[in-house]
């Protein structure tokens, strides 16, 4: 009997670590299911990113450790436009952490494009006329210094082909959550004067625009004849048909690398 107990103890000692390893694998699996329900819309399949940041990376800017990642899963990052989709149980948070961390351990799919060629394209297409990277460039469009950390490659590709379809939101913290930023608006004043620009801010009685020359326009709505918002448009030209597929891949590869975290 004593021998049997001793044998049992040895058996337990062998089995226990495996059990905990199996639980962790179960957490990753359960986390994947939850991710599909709650996170995939913004973070993409397998965490490849979309309108939300790619998560298939060893380091995550806002989640340097598991505790920070868990806090983000529990509460969202409302100031950056990430909602808490729903309240989660402690066990669900643990499972999501396990799954997201597993994404960073698997090799990131090799980018189809050549980032170095993409750098040259960025210069050749004069993207810097409207976008800032590391302090250099124009300000009509969004800053791109960290764009590879903020958006997934699919989103960036679509932004080049159909810029109006993917207007960013909740990056500037000027208007409330969910509002389209860089929204083109055309205003015709009662005296016939016309302005087209991007919306900088808006309240019930006024709207503030910035036109392509960078000039601000403060408009009292009651003085305008027409205020037309263009939700599916952008002041950025589409590059559809203006680049080869390979060039598109190269530019997306360059943009995806911006932000420094691979």
């Amino acid at each position: 009997m004593k021998q049997l107990i001793r044998f049992g103890v040895v058996l337990l000692a062998i089995v226990l670590p495996r059990v905990s390893g199996a639980q962790s694998a179960a957490d990753v699996q359960a986390g994947k299911v939850l991710f599909g329900h709650l996170c995939v819309t913004c973070h993409g399949f397998d965490g490849a990113g979309g309108a939300g940041p790619p998560l298939n990376r060893a380091k995550l800017v806002n989640a340097p450790d598991d505790a920070a990642l868990r806090t983000i899963i529990a509460d969202g990052i409302p100031s950056r436009g990430m909602p808490r989709v729903r309240r989660t149980l402690d066990s669900e948070q643990r499972q999501l952490v396990a799954y997201v961390r597993s994404l960073g351990r698997t090799a990131r799919p090799a980018s189809r494009g050549d980032a170095k060629k993409g750098t040259e394209l960025y210069a050749k297409l004069n993207c810097a006329a409207c976008h800032i990277v590391k302090g250099q460039g124009g300000t009509l469009g969004p800053e791109l210094t960290d764009i590879g950390v903020q958006r997934g490659p699919q989103y960036l590709r679509q932004a080049l082909l159909e810029p109006g379809a993917v207007l960013p939101n909740s990056t500037l913290r000027v208007q409330g959550p969910g509002y389209s930023e860089f929204l083109p608006v055309r205003v015709v004043m009662k005296d016939g004067a016309e302005v087209r620009g991007i919306r900088v801010n808006e309240d019930l009685f006024t709207i503030q625009l910035r036109d392509t020359s960078g000039k601000f326009h403060s408009i009292r709505k009651s003085n305008a004849e027409v205020i037309r918002k263009e939700p599916n448009a952008s002041l950025m030209p589409s590059f559809a048909g203006k680049m080869s597929e390979a060039e598109l891949d190269d530019l997306v590869a360059y943009l995806s690398n911006l932000g420094g975290l691979q």
Binding site: R84, V85, R86, R87, G176, L204, F205
Partner: protein, 530 residues
């Protein structure tokens, strides 16, 4: 000597700026339009000021009289009260009470209860919606679950009663309601699985007079609507907004919130009485005289706590005593307040969950509207078409004014595990916000719910409304606008940008022959006059 003392007493009483507020004065609050004596202006909860000095003709000349910067940052949802030249308001996040001189805006006293740093506030920000006054005390409910009586002259604590244990998630955000010798309060906390109740406390001593639970125990009437399990123990039914009172019928009306867990009804099969309901209570005993449930077996967190407005009007040729509410579920309801009989309903905002309301007042629920693992898009949104923010009823126009939130939510179902003092919600939702969401101020015919006019808002707001005898309606926006509309037509007459979301609750008062409008935006209280 005795005569001298009497004379001295009369002299002091006569000069004091801090006059006593008897129950008789509260009963006749409408006869003191210079003051604002209760949360909603009167027991009928009209949020209507009969004052006419600010009116359609001069509203365009409104200008700032003074402002008061609150002490801490937070969400300000306070409705000040004003008594004989003194304003009492509350400040977040620690249930602070402050008395101000209404002429100058200068502070007379301020009191902050000792709120523990680990206070549990789940389900809302740590807001406070105002104080009640009765005799020589003001009464505040606190985020750590206490009801405290303060001396109206000095802010000194007269008594401090624990309503219920905050460690279990109970907290108070509402303005208490003062009746004859009693202070009535309700609690927040359904998102932690509390069992809700309405309490009456002795105004002099702070002792509990009665408690009426909003979720029945097994064997009590209504318990059959909770299934056979123990879901009732954690059934929710919070009572987090101030009720109304009819002294002639001697009925206290109090509304109740969502069942818990909010988005998962697996352990509470049935209608879940008396959640999402209005209760008519005997104020002497707390006994329930009638109830009406707006949203049976709620799975969208559509609390029915919204302000209950009392008015009298003919319905089908017969004069009735009515009670009305623009419910969070998107429908406006009118009931007979003597009997609880359902009379009228009408949608006042976009809703996609019901095909209508049947002859008994029950919703005809659509299929496929329940929260799900991948999310289900339903209107109204998770915070409802309406919420805590006050409507207004004008006896002048006979219109019920309501800010409507036009937004959908993707509702998710999740598991719920009860652990005292932690979130017990079973899911949640993601708002479909931004440019696709909006709002409107709607003027409804109070007896039919038919819309007379609307004033569109840029986004779903949290604005309370105030109507006045000068024919005005005041409201605000999330973008910081505060404005006056013509109460008859909805036409804008005046507006100003206040630099912070308007979530305070407007009131009006007068002093030294001038009328004032008070509103909080951001963390500042602004007072306007002409």
């Amino acid at each position: 000597m005795k005569r001298f003392l009497i004379l001295l007493f009369v002299a002091i009483a006569g000069t004091s700026a801090f006059a006593q507020v008897s129950y008789q004065r509260l009963l006749n609050a409408e006869k003191e339009p210079q003051n604002w004596l209760t949360y909603a202006g009167s027991y009928k909860s009209h949020r209507y000021s009969p004052l006419t000095l600010i009116n359609r003709q001069n509203a365009g000349q409104l200008k700032l009289a003074w402002a008061y910067q609150m002490q801490r940052s937070g969400v300000v949802e306070t409705s000040p009260i004003v008594v004989d030249g003194v304003m009492y308001l509350t400040e977040p996040p620690n249930s602070t009470v402050t008395a101000l001189d209404t002429r100058s805006g200068r502070t007379l006293w301020t009191y902050t209860p000792n709120i523990p740093p680990d206070v549990i506030v789940i389900g809302s920000p740590p807001v406070n919606r105002g104080v009640a006054i009765l005799d020589e005390s003001v009464f505040v409910g606190t985020v750590h679950g206490h009801l405290i009586a303060l001396d109206a002259k000095s802010g000194t604590v007269r008594w401090d009663t624990t309503v219920e244990d905050n460690k279990h998630g109970f907290y108070l955000t509402l303005s208490p309601l003062a009746l004859d010798g009693k202070i009535i309060v309700g609690v927040s906390g359904a998102e932690t699985g509390i069992r809700g109740f309405v309490d009456a406390y002795d105004a002099k001593t702070g002792k509990l007079v009665w408690r009426t639970y909003t979720v029945p125990a097994p064997g009590e009437p209504g318990s059959e609507t909770w299934g056979k399990g123990d879901g009732w123990k954690t059934g929710g039914g919070s009572t987090w907004l101030t009720g109304s009172y009819d002294p002639e019928l001697n009925l206290l009306y109090w509304a109740t919130g969502n069942p818990a867990p909010d988005w998962n009804a697996d352990n509470r099969p049935g209608d879940n009485l008396y959640t999402d309901s209005v209760l008519a209570l005997d104020p002497g005993t707390g006994k329930m005289k009638w109830h009406f449930q707006f949203t049976p077996e709620d799975v969208h967190d559509w609390d029915a706590n919204e302000t209950l407005v009392l008015f009298d009007a003919p319905v089908n040729g017969r004069e009735r005593k009515l009670i009305a509410q623009a419910n969070r579920n998107g429908f406006y309801y009118v009931l007979d307040r003597a009997t609880g009989e359902y009379l009228v309903s009408a949608p006042y905002a976009k809703q996609t969950w019901a095909d209508g309301i049947d002859a008994k007042g029950k919703p005809i629920r659509k299929k496929g509207i329940a929260p799900s693992l991948d999310g289900t898009l339903v209107f109204p949104n998770i915070q409802g078409a309406s919420n805590w923010f006050s409507p207004s009823y004008s006896p002048q126009t006979k219109l019920f004014y309501q800010a409507a939130r036009e937004m959908g939510t993707i509702y998710y179902k999740g598991d719920a595990v009860y652990k005292p003092g932690t979130a017990f919600t079973g899911g949640g939702g993601r708002a479909v916000n931004g440019d696709v969401a909006s709002g409107a101020i709607r003027a409804l015919d109070a007896t039919t719910g038919k819309m007379k006019w609307e004033f569109p808002l840029l986004s779903p707001g949290w604005t309370s409304l105030l109507s006045t005898g000068g024919g005005l309606l005041f409201g605000g926006t999330e973008e910081g606008n505060f404005f006056a509309l013509d109460a008859e037509s909805g036409k804008p007459l005046w507006d100003i940008q206040l630099g912070g979301a308007v979530r305070g609750i407007p009131i009006s008062y007068s002093v030294d022959g001038k009328q004032y409008i008070a509103i909080s935006a951001g963390v500042t209280l602004y007072v306007f006059t002409v």
